[in-house]
């Protein structure tokens, strides 16, 4: 199980001497929910810079693509031809066709966030050319284990970080500001929403692609590492909304957990996502 970290350039400098096995860079303007996105020309520099670190480098174009963006998506993919990356992470199925059309030969990593929930999904997408499948964020550990046992495909899971739970094309904060006769917040400025009967504040921000809302607490998956070692190929650590120091500590702790050592960080503010959570169709998570 490799540890892959979604990163920006400053964080990668620190990761070079860490136990991370790989990094993910966002490709501008078709990555979303990354600390920073980079144009292909800058990515080539970054790839050159990290080449000595022995990293796998995944490039992310995980936006939901709208019709008018297709020509620019194609141009961007063309510009990535020949880069020394080890995979292209995407969410929109258009990428499969366009990457093939432009002759981009990077392994394809499908990360739609919700759609890979069963072995049947993995098999369907593998048949369409997907090389690595990022399992749905609402997966339970039991579900991950079962999918892994039922397929031979390479599997990944976002086990650490602020999990996104909502993406609207609407600019919800700006619309509310307009309603309140206030000026809209700048893009990327994090606010929080809280429902009065529930604990925790959910981070919310806008960017060019709409509004994004995250779980109230960042998630961690240390309790699952022993199982992940046998069932996952890649554990993804998402650095969005986390401090560099917290990310670096987590990376080292995942490496420790992977080799059976005791972790050192303080994760009391973290939850475990959906790994051990009972959710269902009725109130209280009943089915």
């Amino acid at each position: 199980m490799d540890i892959i970290v979604a990163a920006d350039a400053p964080l990668v400098e620190s990761l070079k001497t860490s136990s991370a096995d790989g990094v993910i860079f966002g490709v501008a303007p078709f990555a979303q929910r990354f600390r920073e996105n980079y144009k292909p020309s800058r990515l080539r520099e970054l790839l050159k810079d990290v080449s000595g670190a022995g990293f796998d480098v995944w490039l992310a174009m995980n936006a939901i693509i709208h019709e008018e963006e297709l020509p620019q998506v194609k141009q961007t993919l063309e510009a990535l031809r020949g880069v020394s990356a080890s995979g292209l992470l995407f969410a929109d199925l258009a990428i499969i066709r366009l990457a093939k059309a432009v002759g981009l030969e990077l392994p394809l990593i499908y990360h739609p966030e919700t759609y890979v929930t069963s072995a049947a999904d993995v098999r369907a997408l593998a048949a369409a050319g997907v090389d690595v499948h990022v399992l749905a964020r609402e997966s339970t550990l039991e579900g991950i284990e079962r999918i892994a046992e039922e397929t031979d495909a390479k599997l990944a899971f976002v086990g650490h970080g602020h999990l996104n739970m909502f993406h609207s094309r609407r600019h919800q904060l700006s619309l509310f500001a307009e309603q309140q006769q206030q000026s809209p917040p700048a893009r990327g400025i994090v606010h929080y929403i809280r429902e009065h009967s529930r604990e925790g504040r959910c981070p919310i921000y806008e960017d060019a692609r709409g509004t994004h809302i995250f779980r109230p607490h960042p998630s961690a998956a240390f309790q699952a590492v022993e199982s992940f070692k046998n069932h996952l190929d890649f554990l993804i650590v998402d650095s969005l909304l986390l401090e560099d120091a917290a990310v670096l500590t987590a990376v080292e702790d995942y490496a420790r957990a992977r080799s059976g050592q005791t972790i050192k960080g303080d994760y009391r503010q973290y939850d475990s996502g959906f790994l051990f959570e009972q959710t269902g169709l009725k109130p209280g998570g009943r089915s």
Binding site: E67, D92, L93, T117, A120, F166, Q179, I193, E195, I213
Partner: protein, 405 residues
């Protein structure tokens, strides 16, 4: 120009029959398994078979939703279910999960429609599924008319667009707000509609407390004014949302869009105001045109101060009519009284009204007010009503001709 299919929700057999009575070309429904909307009265296989018989006898089609994103183990029995649906003779499957789509393509000859839960927003993604053998794609509700027009020109697959009903605030199928905040699986049928809750918003730039709460909620979609453009660009199907909605809602909405499509197709002059007035009678939440006119503005959002509830006008459902006696059997849905003038909603009786001069209960005893929900009532009238016609309270300033009983 081909006439687009009008596709209506069927929450149960009664609403299936109502939708077809009021002009739906097709209905969609969920079975007991593999379908979202767990709280809808989903159909048994026997119900589906009866629905298919009813629909096919009237030239309508039935699509079955298998649109959950299944967890491991939840696809057990799916191929047997497919075989049963094929034997029953349904006209298509609506699927969201890549695995379910693939299984349906491999293990049945049923036409496969890709659900809006896949949030397909461009022609390349649409053609990805077209190349794998699907017959239809139900487009994401985030698309503008202009985007749909361009996309239409770039694919040969059938395209379906939503024109009416509830909107997800998030891209559909990608939301886990309900999973997180209510432990209810949005993508397996348990959505708690957490996007419609009131939230406190905490700065740095904006602040809002509960008394003037922040909301993510979108107004419902209503696309009467956009249907002419959807028709002209060659959309294949127009969909109404709402498997949980009432008989009155289904009847009113289907009837309105049916008449609108037929008017367009006949090339007759279009008086959109008439259709807008009619569709407003079905509203249970404020409406807007969603993304069809481009990025939604503040007016398309449902902030708490806008959360008005339209007046309920559904008075009674016609269960039977005895032509010899000139007597209708009604089922009460909201109070009305002798002296009230009720508007008839019927595909066969446009503009008809009835003023109630006498009303009896099921035993034949005269009553002044129909106040009991679902009470069976007898009404003498020479208006030749039919089962599933609807009586509703007349809107203020209505100018319909009134006929006395």
């Amino acid at each position: 120009m081909a006439r687009p299919e009008l596709l209506a929700p069927a929450g149960d057999l009664e609403r299936l029959k109502v939708a077809i009575r009021y002009g739906a070309d097709a209905v969609y429904l969920g079975g007991k398994s593999f379908s979202l909307r767990a709280r809808a009265s989903n159909f048994t296989l026997a119900d589906i078979a009866e629905g298919v018989r009813h629909a096919h006898a009237r030239g309508a089609r039935v699509y079955v939703t298998t649109n959950i994103l299944p967890r491991p183990g939840e696809l057990d029995g799916f191929c047997d279910y497919l075989a049963e649906l094929e034997r029953i003779g349904i006209d298509g499957l609506i699927c969201a999960s890549p695995g379910i789509i693939q299984l349906a393509l491999q293990h049945s000859s049923l036409p496969v429609h890709v659900s809006t839960q896949q949030s397909l927003t461009n022609s390349e993604a649409v053609n990805f599924w077209y190349s794998r053998g699907v017959e239809r794609v139900i487009l994401a509700r985030e698309l503008s008319l202009e985007e749909i027009r361009t996309l239409r020109a770039r694919t040969g697959v059938e395209l379906e667009a939503f024109v009416h009903g509830g909107m997800c605030a998030s891209y559909s199928g990608k939301c886990t707000l309900s999973n997180t905040l209510a432990a209810r699986d949005a993508n397996r049928g348990g959505c708690a509609h957490s996007c419609r809750w009131a939230y406190e918003l905490l700065g740095p730039r904006l602040e809002s407390r509960f008394e003037d709460a922040f909301s993510l909620s979108a107004k419902d979609l209503q696309a009467i004014q956009e249907v002419p453009e959807l028709y002209s660009l060659g959309i294949d199907a127009l969909k109404i949302e709402g498997r949980m909605k009432s008989v009155h809602y289904v009847a009113t909405v289907v009837n309105t869009y049916r008449r609108l499509i037929d008017t367009l197709h006949a090339g007759e002059p279009l008086k959109l105001k008439t259709f807008l007035e009619e569709i407003a009678k079905a509203e249970n939440r404020p409406t807007a045109s969603g993304h069809l006119r481009g990025t939604p503005t503040r007016d398309a959002q449902l902030f708490s101060r806008d959360a008005r509830r339209p007046i309920q006008r559904f008075a009674a459902l016609v269960r039977d009519y005895d032509t010899e006696r000139g007597e209708a059997v009604l089922e009460q849905r909201s109070p009305f009284r002798v002296g009230d003038t009720l508007e008839v909603l019927s595909p066969d009786l446009p503009g008809e009204t009835i003023t109630i001069s006498e009303l009896r209960d099921e035993a034949g005893i005269p009553i002044a007010v129909a106040r009991h929900p679902r009470q069976r009532l007898r009404l003498r009238t020479d208006v030749a009503l039919k089962p599933y016609d609807i009586l509703r309270k007349q809107a203020p300033n209505s100018i319909a001709t009134t006929r006395k009983t």
